[in-house]
């Protein structure tokens, strides 16, 4: 046992990857399953806010793009469920935990998409924040998770760029369109900053996750990186970020920004955001409405297998 633990520690220390059938501490396995499952759930629930706009996107081009983007998010969820299963989790059980509200997903998806500009702002800011979070996870210590992240990050770049391009197009449009963009930025900016999780001094699990190299940077480091990246992008777009305290701090070499309303994050995480109930209800309905498809495919496979077995029996003469 001590021997196994030592080998695990050495693997982490040497920056090698932990692979599925390796021995690992129970805490590492549990933390990994929880993180991957929550991440998977976020991708799956994350289809909804934008998915609501597929039928209302203003052109065939925009519909095709949005459809592809939402389909990618489904793919991201499935890559991650696949990674969770390598740790012994059961995919159906994870879906069950999501629709019974026993596992969480990113709080950002509990906000509504009130206008079409929201689609652009989600691509720019929400996918942008996700990229900030996910790029370091490509070096996460658990092999299947890191590999899923590499695949996901490759696809996220399209998500962010299509969103930003959409916004640039709207900013070149009418006064009303520009106002829609600004309104969407005003609503999504602070929730995007909250995507990085609670501040470091209120994030008790960070130290352990960093020691295990599951996480590579703290929440506050990543949040700062995101703010620094977003400011020039907002400028280029011609929108203002809704923070009076936001300014360059030459001494730190970073942007200072105003205090985040953590009570809002707490409220949304604990189930009282604007859309929590609806998001879970839609996911549950999709799962339940799809039951007949799963059953039909199972029945078809059983019947086909029976036919093959029947032929074999006939040819072999039985026995």
């Amino acid at each position: 046992m001590a021997d196994l633990e030592e080998r695990f520690d050495r693997t982490i220390e040497r920056d090698q990857r932990v692979e599925p059938r390796d021995w690992m501490p129970d805490g590492y396995r549990a933390t990994m399953i929880r993180q991957i499952a929550q991440h998977a759930h976020s991708e799956i629930i994350g289809m909804q806010p934008e998915g609501e706009w597929i039928t209302r996107a203003p052109s065939l081009r925009r519909k095709a793009i949005l459809l592809a983007k939402v389909q990618d998010e489904a793919g991201h969820g499935l890559y991650l469920y696949s990674a969770a299963e390598t740790l012994g989790a059961d995919r159906a059980e994870l879906t069950g935990m999501l629709i019974e509200g026993r596992q969480k997903y990113s709080s950002i998806f509990n906000y509504p998409t009130l206008g079409y500009a929201d689609v652009g702002v989600i691509g720019w800011l929400v996918d942008g924040a996700a990229i900030c979070n996910q790029v370091p996870l490509c070096r996460s210590s658990y092999g299947p998770y890191a590999r899923a992240m590499i695949r996901i990050c490759k696809e996220e770049s399209f998500h962010q760029r299509q969103g930003y391009e959409l916004l640039m197009t709207m900013m070149r449009g009418t006064e009303a369109q520009r106002a829609m963009v600004q309104d969407a930025v005003d609503r999504w900016w602070w929730p995007s900053l909250m995507m990085f999780g609670p501040p470091d001094d209120a994030s008790p699990n960070t130290a352990r996750s960093m020691a295990w190299k599951i996480k590579r940077h703290t929440n506050d480091e990543l949040r700062q990186r995101f703010v620094d990246m977003s400011v020039p992008q907002a400028e280029a777009l011609g929108v203002t970020l809704p923070d009076a305290d936001l300014r360059w701090n030459a001494e730190r070499g970073h942007h200072d920004f105003g205090p985040i309303d953590w009570s809002e994050l707490q409220r949304v995480i604990s189930g009282n955001g604007p859309c929590n109930a609806r998001r879970v209800a839609v996911r549950r309905a999709a799962h339940e409405d799809g039951a007949w498809v799963r059953e039909a495919a199972t029945a078809h496979a059983a019947k086909a297998a029976g036919r093959v077995a029947g032929t074999d029996a006939g040819m072999g003469g039985g026995g």
Binding site: E19, P20, R21, D22, W23, A68, Q71, D72, G75, L78, Y79, S82, A83, E85, T86, D90, R91, A92, E93, T95, P144, R147, A148, R151, E155, R294, A297, T298, H300, A301, A304, A305
Partner: protein, 93 residues
């Protein structure tokens, strides 16, 4: 979905390369596994050929790197080109 078996997916990204393991999925049978694999793992021309195989049909070595299973290749340094000292002025070697 829990009734559907787990499949491992291998994709050949282009001619001339081996199939590489990319992940797994659940499917009712081989045929739907291939279709799901196409939709999930090759949305951007990542593949020209896909293999799927039921996970429970894969036989694997023990994950232990110290496993004596791999010992026979551990001490055969003479299988590597660097084992042989050749003077620097001998060309093309």
């Amino acid at each position: 979905m829990s009734g559907w078996p787990l499949y491992e997916v291998f994709v050949r990204s282009k001619r001339g390369l081996n199939h590489v393991h990319v992940g797994s999925l659940h499917a009712a049978d081989d045929e739907t596994a291939l279709r799901h694999a196409r939709d999930l793992y090759t949305r951007r021309n990542e593949g020209v050929s896909i293999w799927v195989v039921r996970s429970d049909h894969i036989a694997a070595t023990s994950p232990d790197e110290k496993d004596p299973f791999f010992a026979p290749s551990g001490d055969k340094v003479y299988r590597h080109p660097t084992f042989y000292a050749i003077p620097d002025d001998v060309p093309h070697m």
